[in-house]
C-alpha cells in the first residue's frame, strides 16, 4: 500500500466510527494523535487501506470523577493528563507518567488510548495504570465490554482489541488520602526518550513513620508486557520503609523482571536498573511523605 493511496475518513461521532469499523474493520486502522501510527506507517508496519481519523471525536476527550472512579476518555492527551487537577491530586502517579512521555509536542498530540493500544512494553502510562487498577472500556457497534488492564495485553504490540472495537475510556481508582505514588523513568536521556526501564509505585501509608500498609509496584520495559513486582510488593509491608529496608527491597527487584538486550541497554543493566529505580522511587516517596 502506498502512503499516497491510503484513504482517510473522519467520523463525527463515536457511533459513526464504530459503524465504519463494523463494515471495514479489516482494512481500517484508527488514527488518534498519530505519534505511533504514523511512525509505523513510515516503517511500512501496519499500513491500512483506510485511516479512521478519530482525532476529532471530542466525546472521547474528558477526565471526570464518576462515583468512586475516575473516567478518562481515550483521546485525552498526555498534556491534558499531566495538567488535570483531578489526575494530579487523585492519581498523581499517572500525571507524572504522562509528564515523562516524549516532549511537549508529543504530549500535545499523543493520547492515552494510543499509548495503551500500541501496547509497547515501554509505554510510560501503562505501569501507572497498572498500580491504579485501571480498567478499559472497549466498544464495538454491537457491544461494550470492560476489562482489567492486565488482561488486555497479550504481548508486545498484541492486545485483546478486536478490529471492530475502540477503547472509549479508561477507568481508574482514585488514590486515597493516605496513598502516595510515583513514576520513575530511566531513558537514554531526559526528554524524548524511550524508557530503558520504568516503574510506577503506589503505597498506602500507615500512621507510623514510614509504615507501609500495602503497595503496588509495576515495571515497564523489562518484559513482554508490564509486570507487577509481587515479591517486592510483599516486602513493602514487612517492616518500616527505612533506607535500609528500601535497599533490601531493591535488591530483589531483578528477580521480578525478564528483560532483553537491545540497542538501548543490556538485559543485565535493565535488571540492575529495576532495583535502582525502585529504590530511587521509594527514597523520593519517603521524602515527599515526610515533607507533607
Amino acid at each position: 500500500m502506498r502512503v499516497s493511496e491510503i484513504a482517510m475518513v473522519t467520523p463525527k461521532t463515536v457511533m459513526e466510527c464504530l459503524m465504519y469499523l463494523s463494515n471495514r474493520g479489516q482494512d481500517a486502522r484508527l488514527l488518534a494523535g498519530g505519534t505511533d501510527a504514523i511512525v509505523q506507517m513510515k516503517e511500512k508496519v501496519g499500513r491500512p487501506k483506510i485511516w479512521i481519523n478519530i482525532g476529532k471525536l471530542d466525546e472521547l476527550r474528558f477526565i471526570r470523577e464518576v462515583g468512586n472512579e475516575i473516567h478518562i476518555g481515550s483521546l485525552s492527551t498526555h498534556t491534558e493528563l499531566a495538567n488535570s487537577k483531578l489526575i494530579r491530586s487523585r492519581a498523581s502517579v499517572l500525571a507524572e507518567a504522562a509528564e515523562r512521555v516524549g516532549a511537549t509536542q508529543i504530549r500535545n498530540m499523543g493520547t492515552i488510548g494510543g499509548n495503551i493500544a500500541t501496547a509497547s512494553p515501554a509505554g510510560d502510562t501503562l505501569p501507572a495504570l497498572y498500580v491504579l487498577d485501571a480498567e478499559l472500556e472497549l466498544q464495538s457497534f454491537a457491544k461494550k465490554r470492560r476489562i482489567k488492564i492486565a488482561d488486555f495485553f497479550l504481548g508486545p504490540r498484541r492486545t485483546l482489541l478486536q478490529n471492530d472495537e475502540i477503547i472509549t475510556k479508561i477507568i481508574i481508582k482514585p488514590m486515597q488520602e493516605n496513598e502516595i505514588g510515583i513514576f520513575e523513568k530511566l531513558g537514554p536521556r531526559r526528554a524524548q526518550a524511550i524508557s530503558i526501564v520504568n516503574v510506577a509505585i503506589k503505597l498506602s501509608m500507615g500512621s507510623k513513620a514510614r509504615q507501609c500498609l500495602a503497595g503496588k509496584i509495576a515495571f515497564g520495559s523489562v518484559a513482554p508486557t508490564i509486570v507487577r513486582a509481587s515479591k517486592c510488593e510483599a516486602m513493602l509491608t514487612l517492616g518500616l520503609l527505612t533506607d535500609q529496608h528500601i535497599e533490601d527491597i531493591g535488591k530483589v527487584a531483578w528477580r521480578e523482571v525478564s528483560p532483553i538486550s537491545d540497542i538501548r541497554a543490556s538485559a543485565i543493566y535493565r535488571k540492575d536498573m529495576a532495583g535502582a529505580l525502585l529504590i530511587r522511587g521509594l527514597y523520593r516517596l519517603m521524602k515527599r511523605w515526610e515533607d507533607q
Binding site: 502506498r2 502512503v3 499516497s4 516532549a103 530511566l186 537514554p188 536521556r189 531526559r190 526528554a191 524524548q192 526518550a193 524511550i194 530503558i196 540497542i263 538501548r264 541497554a265 543490556s266 543493566y269 540492575d272 536498573m273 535502582a276 529505580l277 529504590i279 530511587r280 527514597y283 523520593r284
Partner: protein, 770 residues
C-alpha cells in the same frame, strides 16, 4: 593581555560587539527556505540504491524490471557514467556507482528518477543485483593484519602518520611516573537538521545547475565535472543556504547523483532529499578511534615523554581520513611541550560505512586520551590539575610537541588562568558538596585543547573576496565560503562594515555560488573567519581606492587630496564645488559612466616554516586554544550523568562577533556533551544498528546546562583585526572535562565513550565504587 592595550588604541564600531546574526530571524522563524524545501511543478524525484551487504562482489546488475515500471524515468548504473567513476576529496577512491565490489552499506549501486518519490523507492526494489557475499572487515586492528582481505589495491592502511622527537626510551627510563591507557571513542553523526539533498537542473543552454548544500562549492563543481567529463565552467553550483554542515557536507553528498540524473530527465529538475534513515547509512561520520597512550612525567609534573598509537576507522573509503589522522597526530600531545615523543596514527580501511570530516577532525579523540592521562598523572603526583597544565603549556615563540616553533599567538595559559580564577573553581568544594539528592554525587573537571586554523603546510590554502558597490552606497560582499550554521556571513559583514566605515545593514553578503563569488576555499578547518576576514580586508583597500579615485575625479582634484573618513569622501583642499561625497553619489557617478563597481581581494594563508617529516599539512602556523571547566552530577543508582555547568574559555584571538562566539561556544559545548554522554552510530558486522533519531541519542534542551563563555583575546598579528578561528576547538576539551568530572564525582574512570548511564554504572561496578 596584549590585546587590552591594543583595544585602548583602537575602538571599533562593529568588531567585538554583540551583533545579531543577519540570517538569524529568518532561520529562527522558519521563514528561510532551504534548498531541499523547494518543489517545482515539473520536478522528478531521484533515489539511490544502496548496497545490500557491507562487503560483496557484484556479479550482475539487472535494471530491466525497474526501467519498465510505470512512472520511472531513468535508471542509471556505473555504465552511465561518462567520465571518472569516483570521488573523494584527497584520494577519489569512492565509486559514484559501484561496479565490481560494494565495500560498505553506504555504497551506491544505482540511481532512479521517477515521477514520484514513492515510485522511485518502489523501483529501487526492482533493481536486481546479484551479489557474492564476502566477510566484512570490521575492526581496524584486524584489518591491518597480513591475512585480512584487502579492501583496496593499496592495502588496508590508507595512511600511517608518524612523528618522532627526542629519545622516548631514555625518557621513560628517567620518568618518575608513567601512565598508560587505551581510549575508545564513538562514531558521531553530524545530525544536521537538513539531511543531504538538493536539485539538479539541465538548463536550456546545455549547462548544469546543481543546488545542493555543501562546504566548498568550487571543489564540488570540480568533482562533478570529473565524473561527467565536462568543463567545470558549464556547471553552476549553488551551495548556500545550508541546514547545518559540521563537516558532514564537506565531501560530496548527492551532487554527482543529481548531475547524472539531470542529464537523463529531459530538462526536468530532479530532486534528491535523503530521509533521516538514508542519511544515517549514507552520510560520513566521525572516525571512531582507539588510542593507546603512554605518558611520562617527572615528580614536579613536567611532562617528558608521550607515546601514542591511534587507529582511526575510516570505513570503506578515504575521504578526508588521511588528513584526520594527521591532525590527530599533530594534536595528540595537547597544547603542551613534551620533548620526547613517538606519535603514530593509522588510518585504516574497514567495511564500516565511511568516516570523514567532522568538527574537531581527529583532535577530539586524542584530546580525550591526552587530557585523561595528564589528569591521572596530576592526581598521582598530588598536583593541582590546572597547575600541571599551566606548567606544561607552550607559549608564543615556544616549541610544540611535534617540534616546531609556534610563532602565532598562544592563549592557553590565560584560558587556564581564567578557569582558575572562576567562581566555579574557587568555590568548587561548595558546588561539589551540595548534590541535588543524597544518592547523587558531583564532580568538577577541567581540560584544555587546541586546533589548527586552515589546511596546514603543503596544502593549497587561499581565499578571495569581492566587494561590489551597490545603488544607494551599499555593498555586496562575496565570499564563497558557505554559512554552515556558524554565522560566518555575519562575520564577513562585520569585517566589511568596519573596513569600509559603513553601517552593518549596508552590507549584503553572498556565499556559496560558483557564478557569483570567487573560490575562497573550504568551510572547514576553523578557517572561514580567519581566511574570509583577511580576504575582505584585502579587498576593502581596493574598494577604498576606487572610492577615492572616483571622488577625486568628481571633485576634479588629485586623489591625494581626498580623505576617506566616517564613511564619506572628503575634499582636503579648498577648491570649488562639493565638500563631501557619499558612497551613493560615487555609485551614481560610476554607474552613469558605465564603470565597474566591483573589486577583489586575495589572501594566501601563511604557513609554518617547515613541514614535520613527510606529513603534508603538519604543522599549522596558527592555532585556536580552549579550556573547559565543567560541573556534573552523577546518579550513583543509575549511572546517569547530568552536566550542570560549563565554563567555556576560548582563545580565538580578537573576537569579531561576541554573540556569534557565544553561539559557537554554546553549540560546541552541547555537541561535546552529546559526544561524551550520548551519541554513537552503532555498526555491527558492517551493518547499521542505529537507524534514526529514535536510537541515535542527541542532547536536547533538557541536557543543555548553563554555559558561560569568557573569551581570552590573544592578539594574532596575521588575523583579521587579530582574530583566529574557533569553530572546532569549542567542542573539544569539554569531552575529557566531563569524563574527569565523572571521575571526580564517582571515582570511576571512563575510557570508552559515550559515557552512557549503562557505561558509567558498569564502570562504577567494575571499579568497586558501588
Amino acid at each position: 593581555m596584549k590585546m587590552k592595550q591594543r583595544d585602548k588604541q583602537k575602538t571599533y564600531q562593529w568588531v567585538g560587539k554583540r551583533v545579531q546574526r543577519k540570517d538569524g530571524p529568518e532561520k529562527v522563524t522558519g521563514d528561510l527556505k532551504y534548498m531541499t524545501d523547494y518543489r517545482y511543478e515539473n520536478m522528478v524525484w531521484g533515489r539511490v540504491l544502496r548496497a545490500k551487504h557491507p562487503y560483496a562482489k557484484i556479479k550482475q546488475i539487472d535494471t530491466s524490471r525497474a526501467e519498465a515500471y510505470p512512472g520511472v524515468i531513468c535508471v542509471l548504473t556505473y555504465e552511465d557514467i561518462p567520465g571518472f567513476n569516483g570521488f573523494g576529496i584527497v584520494v577519489p577512491d569512492q565509486p559514484v556507482l559501484c561496479h565490481d565490489y560494494v565495500r560498505c552499506m553506504s555504497d551506491a549501486v544505482a540511481l532512479v528518477a521517477a515521477e514520484t518519490e514513492e515510485i522511485a523507492e518502489e523501483a529501487l526494489q526492482l533493481i536486481d543485483v546479484d551479489y557474492e557475499v564476502l566477510t566484512p572487515v570490521t575492526d581496524p586492528e584486524e584489518a591491518m593484519k597480513e591475512n585480512a582481505p584487502m579492501l583496496h589495491p593499496s592495502g588496508n592502511v590508507h595512511t600511517h602518520v608518524q612523528v618522532q622527537n627526542g629519545d622516548i626510551e631514555k625518557a621513560f627510563a628517567e620518568a618518575d611516573i608513567i601512565v598508560e591507557n587505551t581510549y575508545i571513542s564513538p562514531r558521531q553523526m553530524h545530525a544536521f537538521i537538513e539531511t543531504e539533498g538538493g536539485w539538479g537542473i539541465l538548463e536550456e543552454d546545455g549547462s548544469l545547475t546543481i543546488r545542493c548544500p555543501g562546504q566548498y562549492a568550487f571543489r564540488d563543481r570540480m568533482q562533478i565535472a570529473r565524473v561527467l567529463a565536462w568543463n567545470p565552467h558549464r556547471i553552476h553550483v549553488v551551495s548556500n543556504p545550508i541546514g547545518g554542515g559540521f563537516g558532514g557536507k564537506d565531501e560530496i553528498t548527492v551532487q554527482i547523483y543529481l548531475a547524472l540524473l539531470a542529464l537523463h530527465t529531459g530538462g526536468r529538475p530532479v530532486k534528491i532529499h535523503y530521509k533521516r534513515e538514508e542519511s544515517v547509512i549514507a552520510g560520513i561520520k566521525r572516525h571512531p578511534f582507539k588510542v593507546k597512550m603512554k605518558t611520562a612525567a617527572k615528580k614536579d609534573g613536567t611532562l617528558i615523554a608521550n607515546q601514542v598509537i591511534a587507529y582511526g576507522d575510516t570505513g570503506a573509503y578515504a575521504s578526508l581520513g588521511g588528513a584526520v589522522i594527521s591532525l590527530a597526530v599533530e594534536h595528540s600531545c595537547g597544547p603542551y611541550y613534551i620533548p620526547n615523543v613517538d606519535l603514530n596514527g593509522y588510518c585504516v580501511y574497514t567495511n564500516n560505512g565511511v568516516s570523514g570530516a567532522f568538527r574537531g577532525f581527529g583532535v577530539n579523540q586524542v584530546c580525550f586520551a591526552m587530557e585523561q592521562n595528564i589528569d591521572i598523572i596530576a592526581e598521582k603526583l598530588g598536583i593541582d590539575p590546572i597547575e600541571i597544565r599551566k606548567k606544561n603549556v607552550y607559549h608564543q615563540g615556544g616549541i610544540s610537541s611535534v617540534g616546531h616553533r609556534v610563532t602565532a599567538s598562544v592563549g592557553t595559559w590565560e584560558t587556564l588562568d581564567v578557569a582558575e580564577k572562576s567562581d566555579l573553581w574557587q568555590r568548587r568544594h561548595h558546588y561539589k558538596n551540595n548534590p541535588s539528592e543524597p544518592w547523587k554525587k558531583r564532580g568538577i573537571g577541567i581540560a584544555s585543547s587546541f586546533h589548527g586554523i586552515g589546511m596546514g603546510i603543503g596544502l593549497p590554502d587561499y581565499g578571495a573576496a569581492t566587494i561590489e558597490l551597490l545603488p544607494g552606497g551599499r555593498f555586496l560582499v562575496g565570499v564563497c565560503s558557505e554559512d554552515i550554521g556558524q554565522g560566518n556571513g555575519t562575520v564577513f559583514a562585520i569585517v566589511a562594515a568596519e573596513a569600509l566605515q559603513c553601517h552593518l545593514d549596508d552590507i549584503d553578503v553572498i556565499q556559496g555560488d560558483t557564478k557569483l563569488t570567487l573560490d575562497s576555499g573550504t568551510v572547514s578547518a576553523s578557517r572561514s573567519t580567519y581566511v574570509g576576514g583577511n580576504t575582505i580586508l584585502a579587498a576593502a583597500p581596493n574598494m577604498i581606492q576606487l572610492l577615492i579615485h572616483t571622488a577625486a575625479e568628481i571633485f576634479d582634484i588629485d586623489p591625494e587630496f581626498v580623505e576617506h573618513r566616517d564613511g564619506k569622501l572628503w575634499k582636503t583642499i579648498p577648491v570649488q564645488g562639493k565638500e563631501v561625497l557619499s558612497y551613493a553619489e560615487i555609485y551614481d557617478y560610476l554607474y552613469q559612466h558605465r564603470r565597474e563597481t566591483k573589486v577583489e581581494g586575495h589572501f594566501m594563508v601563511p604557513t609554518a616554516e617547515k613541514m614535520i617529516g613527510k606529513n603534508v599539512g603538519m604543522p599549522h602556523k596558527v592555532y585556536g586554544y580552549q579550556t573547559h571547566l565543567v560541573l556534573v552530577e552523577v546518579d550513583m543508582l543509575t549511572g546517569e550523568t547530568e552536566v550542570l555547568q560549563v565554563l567555556s574559555i576560548p582563545d580565538c584571538g580578537k573576537v569579531i562577533n561576541l554573540l556569534g562566539l557565544e553561539g559557537q561556544a554554546e553549540g560546541g559545548a552541547v555537541m561535546g556533551i552529546g559526544y561524551t554522554l550520548y551519541e554513537d552510530t552503532v555498526i555491527e558486522n558492517g551493518l547499521y544498528k542505529t537507524t534514526n533519531f529514535t536510537n541515535y541519542i542527541l542532547p536536547t534542551f533538557k541536557e543543555t546546562p548553563h554555559i558561560q563563555t569568557i573569551p581570552v583575546e590573544s592578539d594574532e598579528k596575521s588575523g583579521p583585526f587579530g582574530a583566529k578561528g574557533i569553530g572546532e576547538v569549542v567542542m573539544i576539551p569539554i569531552i575529557p572535562a566531563i569524563v574527569q568530572a565523572i571521575y571526580d564525582a564517582t571515582g570511576a574512570r571512563i575510557r570508552h565513550l559515550p559515557a552512557t548511564p549503562e557505561r558509567v554504572y558498569q564502570a562504577m561496578k567494575e571499579q568497586g565504587m558501588i
